[in-house]
Symmetry: C2
Subunit: 161 residues, 2 copies
Amino acid sequence: MAKFTKRVFTILLRLLALAATVSATIVMITSHETSSLLSFSFDVKYSNTPAFKYFMIVNAIVSVYSLLILFLPPKSQLWRLVVALDVIIAMLLISGISAALAIAYVGKKGNSYAGWLPICGQFHKFCNQVTGALAAGFIGAIVYLVLILNSIHAVLNPLLV
Amino acid sequence: MAKFTKRVFTILLRLLALAATVSATIVMITSHETSSLLSFSFDVKYSNTPAFKYFMIVNAIVSVYSLLILFLPPKSQLWRLVVALDVIIAMLLISGISAALAIAYVGKKGNSYAGWLPICGQFHKFCNQVTGALAAGFIGAIVYLVLILNSIHAVLNPLLV
């Protein structure tokens, strides 16, 4: 019974991770805004920034992985590999979030030493969408961290007794 | 005998991680350059950029952790915790590298859409030092990934047979 509860808990976590990373991918892909300053029209989208593109690609990969893992039969030998795969997936996700967050921070606050001006004043909607995508990605990363620590605990537990 | 070889291999890896993260910390802290353009004098240092500061702090934390772990007695019960700690440390490291790399990329190439100009033309020495720090941090992250996959393998191996 305890094993069954644990399995349901894991599946729920993986569903949450899937939802979070799919949302992050979609919100990032649809982030786009056109703003006009004087007589010029400016167009921003996520694909202009390599870090945001990387974030989107990473989230898409993690979404596919999260989906595939749901169809893995409970008795499959492949589950032994999943712990290692989870670690790699979580690292990809954290790397994507950190890179996108670093750039989003410059977009919000600018960096006066480098002469980079903030752009969120002009592109309010775009900035909000990127923030949303980052938050969704962050939830995905936290869920994967919990899954990994849970796996490590489950594997070590019989050895601890 | 195989166990002894494995232990030496792990200690060597941890020494390498220590060396890499200490180097990354020191190279990042000492990155500093003054350049004059027309009659103005510009001063760049790592602490002007939050992402570089974060990278330095993360590497300092990982250095301390890598050093402490070397003094943990081989029979200590704490070794069971080390797998989980290694995962968290590796994630911190990858997060720091990704954030710093995203900013370093803008420093090198700029982002014409956001109007952020590259600064590496003026600050050649600074850029090279940041690149060096990133490379050292990257080596540290790879070593931690190997350590984690090795631990997972070692723990799962008896279960696989």
